[in-house]
Amino acid sequence: MNDRQQEYQRLIAPIEERMMRAVWRIVRDPDDTEDAFQEALLTVWKRWDRICTHPNPHALILQISIHAAHDVWRRKVRRGRCLESAAIPEEIPDPAASAIQGIAAAEQDAAVFRAIGSLSNNQARAILMHAVEELPYDAIAAAMDCRESTVRKHVARARTKLRVLLSQLIPEVHKEERSHA
């Protein structure tokens, strides 16, 4: 096994599943997922030497994957395709739910991703890495090349914005709003 093979075994092999799943969870479309995944791999290829010497290479690779998926999602939102793709969920059928429930779930997914798409790049990446991949703050900070306190601020601001944008999907917030009314 040469040095490159060893590097691949050390850097990519342990997180192949997580990379693929992270992209899929955000994009939720087979073609777009493949495009986003290809973008992520291209970025990893370009930054390969830096990744090799990075203190937390796995967090960095996952951040690259999430960033690529988020970019694809944002482009999709701008093109107005999100509603269409969300209205016809191809790959996540829920056999136990009714057609109406399925459509409602797809609408909720679309609302969540639209809201995330309205965040700044840093806020979106931080909240996705924290919420979707459940990475600790220090790992996110290492991946984003910033301080841990900065990551916490990004996540806090993202939550504040999302709480407003998605208030109808959060039972507690919804209740509070009704009681005030």
Binding site: D3, I12, W24, T33, E34, I92, I127, A131, L162, L166
Partner: protein, 430 residues
């Protein structure tokens, strides 16, 4: 604590990856892996990586190498190198300075010292603490010897060539330091001032100190100026003696009036009278030839005095009466030692175990290299002329005074056998 927004995002993104999509992504991964494995190695990054994450053996080897370099670099080479540089700079500063002043302390207690002043191109001054001063103008070949205690002076012209080397040698002690010291003595704090010391085990090339054992030179490293010099002398058969060179000023403004060859007001010239020599004196008192010899220690009961020397007979009577009262017999003729008119003493040599009470004192005149001459004739006659001639002879022989002058009075006035032995401790200038 889990945030409800995080929970919402997680719940909306928790779908399983469909197998069909996974297959497509895996194909991409295989292509990527092939690409990575064929990627040419980056030597720069490999090197950087080896530095940032070196193996344990390399860390140990590098640490050992660094420690070794540290030991050689910080402890051995720079210390010696820096020390050499400081000493060489200080020696050069003394050598190249247009003016130089310093004091040689020959003895701390009682204080016996000589002040030296040099100013280019050839002005020199030697001022002894016991009242003798020599001023030399090398540009005109003239010098004046001042005897402050006697308010007399001796003017010489055209003969300074003979005594010039003697005076030069004293300045040369400091002006001819070599570029390298024999031993580095380390650091020493004098109050808040840090000094570094160097040792010479032989006299500088152009200077000579008889019996020199070591010459310790202490330098202020910040300014490269010599702070002071400790001289240890060990002559055969004599105890070790320490002298010091202090108040060293190199390259600073010097008051030119200290080299003035004009006799001070109130001083009388020592002139050779043309009259025939006294019948009692077979030798011409003004052509005295000093004899340089080693003299032994003298212990004497003396009375400290100040003021006119005419008080000498009365002072001697006091000492004689006290000794007689004590039943002590003097072991030699009376003597007097002179630092200045404000400080002199007179008395009789006695046994070392003799006990005396105030105002008398028991003093020791140490064994020393001494210039001496015996002059026959009445005590106190032509004193200035005798001393001028005697000191000139001392200088001409290559010695300079190194202590207070002394007279020993022998003989009997009634029988016309009076004689005076004139003595002064000296040190060779070359």
């Amino acid at each position: 604590m889990r945030d409800e927004i995080d929970e919402l995002i997680r719940s909306r993104t928790n779908g399983e990856l469909p197998a069909a999509v996974e297959n497509r992504l895996r194909r991409r991964l295989v292509e990527f892996r092939t690409k990575v494995e064929q990627r040419p190695p980056s030597r720069l990054h490999a090197f950087a990586h080896s530095l940032t994450a070196p193996p344990a053996w390399r860390v140990a080897a590098m640490t050992a190498a660094l420690l070794m370099a540290l030991a050689v670099g910080l402890v051995l080479m720079p210390r010696d190198s820096r020390a050499s540089q400081v000493f060489a700079a200080a020696a050069a500063q003394l050598r190249n300075s247009q003016s130089l002043e310093y004091t040689i302390v020959l003895n701390e207690q009682p204080y016996v010292a000589v002040d030296f002043s040099y100013l280019a191109p050839g002005y020199r001054r030697i001022h002894c603490s016991w009242g003798i001063e020599v001023r030399t103008d090398g540009t005109t070949g003239r010098q004046i010897v001042l005897m402050h205690a006697a308010h007399a002076y001796l003017n010489e012209s055209g003969k300074t060539v003979e005594s010039q080397p003697n005076i030069d040698d004293f300045s040369a002690q400091l002006r001819s330091l070599p570029n390298r010291a024999d031993v580095y003595l380390g650091e020493h704090w004098s109050g808040r001032q840090k000094l570094v010391g160097y040792r010479l085990t032989k006299a500088p090339p152009n200077g000579s100190i008889p019996g020199l054992k070591v010459l310790d030179i202490w330098i202020v490293p910040a300014t490269r100026e010599v702070h002071h010099v400790d001289i240890t002398v060990q002559e055969p058969g004599k105890p070790e003696h320490r002298m010091h060179i202090r108040n060293i000023l190199a390259g600073q403004a010097v008051d030119r009036s200290i080299f003035d060859l004009t006799p001070p007001a109130g001083y009388s010239a020592i002139v050779a009278p043309k009259a025939n020599p006294s019948p009692a004196s077979p030798h011409n008192a003004l052509a005295l030839q000093a004899e340089i010899r080693q003299t032994g220690e003298i212990v004497a009961a003396v009375v400290p005095m100040k003021g006119p020397y005419a008080q000498t007979p009365a002072a001697l009577s006091t000492v004689r009466a006290y000794l007689k009262q004590q039943g002590t017999t003097p072991v030699g003729p009376p003597l007097g030692r002179y630092w200045s008119e404000d400080r002199w003493e007179t008395g009789y040599p006695v046994q070392p175990e003799t006990h005396v009470e105030a105002p008398l004192q028991l003093v020791s005149v140490p064994a020393a290299l001494t210039a001496s001459v015996v002059v026959n004739g009445p005590w106190g006659r032509d004193t200035d002329a005798r001393w001028g001639s005697f000191l000139k002879s001392v200088l001409d022989q290559g010695y300079v005074p190194a202590g207070p002058t002394m007279e020993i009075w022998s003989g009997d006035a009634g029988q016309g056998t009076q004689s005076t032995e004139m003595r002064v401790p000296v040190t060779a200038a070359n």
